[in-house]
Symmetry: C2
Subunit: 645 residues, 2 copies
């Protein structure tokens, strides 16, 4: 009966379904209690207050347990992800997996049934262990529906405590701006958080705030299936402002001694109370059965039984390279803007190609204004809302779409590192184009110096950081990043810098150059000293090379654009020099020099290393003057290398 | 006349002062235009719309150009810090420095007059180049006033575009909760941001949102001195909810062709228009004079003339160490909670000792609940608002107060890295106590694994990361961090772990042990292999040591708690071993092993290095099982070391 009723096409909830939901709810609540007591940790209280809504979501929205990644499925996003037992028991009821697997595998090392939901569990769309993320994730999905001409609904299920988090306010305003009528937010309004009553911990006037931002608010009893159904029905037949369903619920609902007790937010029922709790729900205490199943081998079996299923990365036509002549005056960010439009042009006739470019009020500076003008429907101006933007672009990029965010490096990495980390955990494909990086940001000064992008993104596992050296290399790298699965950060400065050339004066990265991820480039050949650099600094390094050569010192000059995956052969090659000197526009403690040194010492191929780079926050001024002050200009490099010889 | 009128004691603005403000405003606007055109960058538009309010703030609040860090001064916080020319011209008018210095030194490499305001400029309280920070900074100041029984007023001056940022919503609710009647927010409501009309970029119903959160809202004409004065008067005689002054202004106010043009948000008047612009203000174009002053030597002189002045760090009585017996069963976070109360107790009779402990709904888990119970007035429950909290604690910690935030490492570092970076830039003294770090977080799983704290904080320059090994060492380290100037992050896991002992069974870090920042501890002596570890992992390393010894392999065992400042002699000592093996509960790419390798290779004291640690996000389960799965348990260490021999 549920399969036919999916999608809220009927105006009223049938008695038959209501009866079935009621029966399932009782069992699910018992299973929630069992799995948390079994794991001796977890969040039964909110799971039980959320349960009736979870059941409605997983039993009656347009999802299919046989085809969990069907492109036109409704998207159910869980924001209060510590209520995972509520989600797992409901998903199992809907046939997504065996309930015994979820109970016995809950919070078991190696099992996919983590304490906070992760994408490895069938039916889970997004891992959101950190609060306040879900609404922005939902925005990514709702925008994907719109750009791919699909009519699916996106539900975001949130806790009430997490509404305190600022990111939700950002998302609320964005959803309102884009009139995301197919986006529905539901709040499990049980009025308790870990520390007690939410209005005592940090009062919010929830309905008034959301209305002020243009939402429709429907307040319901979150344990009354008719009211839940009617609200969902309205959400499914809404062409107006997005809807918030404020669902009044009771923490620990269903077991008398748990109800309205904030102690059960994050603590399970004690083993000696378990039989009583289950008896209230008409269930028996069969915990021993599950205890016996709970072995490392069982966890391994679960991991195999439920492998992570993610969408294929879209096919991207990279278009034709744009080559910049040796005397061209451009900057890397403009080359990025040009390449972006070029790739969009190359794919415009492909109706399955979807692309979203996001901006936080800086399109002119980060050079997405050209794209915005030509492809206005694919350009999303989110205002000054970096956290929400970072999350939405991650969410979109996990669909059959290219998700792009261009911003100053300081906002796109430092301000939103945790969102990048969550995109890593969620196997997203964010394309981050970071401009104004390094001391090269110039006059904006200290607070704007993005000199930590690698130290940060290298602290995740999947992000790939790439620093192109000039507009020619930028062009190739932008195309590579857009066409390749995974999270990429392309790092650019602000300045116009000369084109990098071969000794004969022709562009090094121009026609004939093929970018291959991970490969070090030998720009000039010499002996004894290898000068290694990256990105914007290559030009200063070339200047140093020329000055040294004029003084009879012949060094080798290398450029490494791909810091995240240094090539073992390249490291071996560098170690054959008597001295390696690195120069980078990055905090010297956590940058390219450190990565090279780390690769050397752990591989056993060591040589003398000297690192040049940023040793303290700079000042506000012209980049050339700042580099000089910080000992990072050509003369400083020359001085360092001369001291070595 | 201004000095007598400071503090808004008179009910009405005198005609004399109004006349003087009007005259100053004309000159300031001209100087704003000059300095931005001279620097060929900067933000004249918002500086000119903010100018009349800036003048009121710096001419009539209780501040003193002769004593800029007077403890009972009013605090003026600039949140839209790109309007620095407005602040600089007004501060110069108020006698804080010579206007010619600010004009000629604006955005000049090495000069304190940065593009975004920094604390090195006399009269500037906080560097806020990143938007959305100011209100949380103001909360820190207002709480300081309250805890130190002072009656000063805190003003936070904000842009309108930045209200889009979520952090401001968090701060708004917190200010309302704590009834900060002496905190006044002012919005320069010129209705334009870089991309155009703020309500088109991302609409907000400003007044309604702030009222929903319990603020009083006063709407005024931000260019009418009487209206500004009256609003400030009301703010100074307010015992009610905090006040927002929504000041309607005109971007580029004062020069006809600049008014209401969003192009002048971030671009100066072109040199060929400068004479016309200045003529409208009755001023002459004397740019050449300033151009000639603008040399590197001049910048150096300015840096000397205006040295950074920060408050002395408070005197802290460290109290008596708490020693844990060899058979004690405790965890580091409990030892932190105990030490915190102990230090508070030791200083309670000192009326100049002020302390604020901040919580984001996790006091029970992070063990500040004991402090909260005993010192409820010094405990601030900010709810789930990590960004705002991180900023407020930084702000408070820069006053004569100890500012403490305890939270899960994932929230306190990963989620709020940029706020930590800004605390570094602002020379704050944040004491961050991070619990539930590492794979040791256990069942909470992937999203909660704080395994990047060092990779992140090491990407700033001032933060000191310390990882105590057991409750005894935690006790000493907590006292050290609380009593020492600077930003500290003390890293703790979740588990109860045995007390670390000497070979004779007595506690290693107990009575007689003196903690000295930066010193490596030799726990056991042996040959050939040095096993180096830190924090929670020391116990596993000791287990490995014992197993190896039983098998006839005698290694040395070292513990390093202070990752940020490795001792050169210690590195030299390690390099004398044939093999160094590191084991850490941290991302292996950016942790202790990498820091040691980096110190070795840059000092030229190298040996064979093998790093053990976290190679991918873990799962959700018991720490012991996770460590085993990830190759980080004692047996894995033993296996690695045996392979080396």
């Amino acid at each position: 009966m549920f399969e036919q009723a999916r999608g809220f096409t009927e105006e009223k909830l049938s008695d038959e379904i209501k009866k079935s939901l009621t029966a399932s709810a009782r069992i699910c609540r018992g299973n929630i209690i069992k799995m948390t007591t079994l794991a001796m940790s977890g969040h039964p209280g909110g799971s039980m207050s959320s349960l009736d809504i979870y059941l409605m979501l997983y039993m009656l929205t347009n999802i299919d347990s046989k085809n969990v990644r069907k492109d036109d499925r409704d998207r159910v996003i869980i924001s209060h992800s510590h209520t995972s037992p509520g989600a797992y028991t409901s998903l199992a009821t809907a046939g997504f997996f065996d309930i015994d697997d979820a109970i016995a595998g809950f919070r078991l090392a190696g099992s996919p049934f983590e304490g906070h939901v992760e994408r490895s569990v069938p039916g889970i769309e997004w891992g959101t262990g950190n609060l306040g993320q879900g609404l922005a994730v939902g925005i990514g999905k709702a925008l994907y529906a719109r750009m791919s001409d699909q009519n699916f609904q996106t539900y975001v299920f949130m806790g009430d405590g997490e509404l305190q988090k600022g990111q939700i306010g950002e998302s609320r305003r964005i959803a309102s701006k884009y009139k995301l009528s197919k986006l529905t937010a539901i709040v499990d309004y049980n009025k308790l958080q870990i520390s007690g009553d939410i209005s005592e911990v940090l009062h919010q006037n929830i309905a008034q705030e959301w209305k002020a931002d243009g939402w429709q608010v429907i307040e319901i009893d979150g344990h009354d299936y008719d009211q839940i159904y009617n609200a969902f029905y309205k959400a499914n037949h809404n062409n107006d402002a997005p809807i918030l369903i404020l669902a009044n619920t009771v923490m620990g609902k269903g077991v008398s001694f748990m109800e309205d007790k904030h102690g059960f937010h994050g603590a399970p029922v004690k083993p000696d109370q378990l039989t009583d709790a289950l008896a209230e729900l008409g269930m028996e205490n069969d915990l021993e059965k599950y205890q016996q199943m709970r072995t490392p081998e069982f966890a391994q079996q679960l991991a195999k039984k439920y492998p992570l299923k993610i969408s294929d990365y879209p096919q991207v036509n990279k278009g034709e390279n744009i080559n910049y002549a040796a005397d061209a005056k451009s900057d890397n960010r403009s080359a990025f803007g040009n390449a972006l439009v070029s790739v969009a042009d190359a794919n415009v006739s492909n109706k399955d190609f979807h692309i979203g470019v996001f901006d936080c009020d800086l399109a002119g500076s980060v050079k997405t204004a050209g794209f915005a003008k030509k492809y206005s429907e694919n350009f999303f101006q989110f205002g000054i809302t970096e956290h929400s933007t970072a999350t939405s672009v991650g969410s979109l990029s996990a669909e059959n779409a290219i998700g792009i965010w261009a911003d100053f490096g300081m906002f796109a990495v430092a301000e939103t590192y945790n969102q990048a980390r969550l995109s890593d955990i969620n196997h997203a494909n964010v394309k981050l184009f970071c401009t104004h990086c390094g001391i090269n940001v110039g006059e904006d000064g200290m607070t704007h110096q993005s000199i930590d992008y690698f130290g940060l993104l290298n602290s995740t596992f999947g992000w790939k950081v790439i620093t192109p050296a000039d507009p020619n290399q930028t062009d190739k790298i932008v195309r590579h990043a857009l066409a390749t699965q995974g999270n990429f950060a392309v790092i650019m400065g602000r300045s116009v810098l000369p084109i990098i050339t071969n000794a004969d004066g022709t562009p090094y990265f121009g026609e004939g150059y093929e970018y291959r991820y991970g490969r070090m480039e030998q720009i000039r050949s010499g002996e004894k000293v290898a000068l290694v650099t990256s990105g914007n600094m290559l030009f200063a390094a070339m200047e140093a090379y020329d000055k040294l050569k004029a003084d009879g010192v012949n060094i080798s000059l290398y450029s490494i654009s791909d810091w995240s995956d240094l090539d073992a052969d390249d490291i071996m090659k560098l170690s054959t020099y008597a001295n390696v000197v690195t120069i980078e526009d990055h905090n010297i403690k956590t940058g390219l020099g450190t990565a090279i040194g780390d690769a050397m010492i752990t591989s056993g191929n060591v040589t003398s290393m000297t690192k040049l780079g940023v040793k303290h926050f700079g000042s506000s001024g012209k980049p050339a003057e700042l580099y000089k002050m910080l000992g990072m200009d050509a003369d400083s490099i020359v001085g360092t290398i001369k001291e070595l010889s």
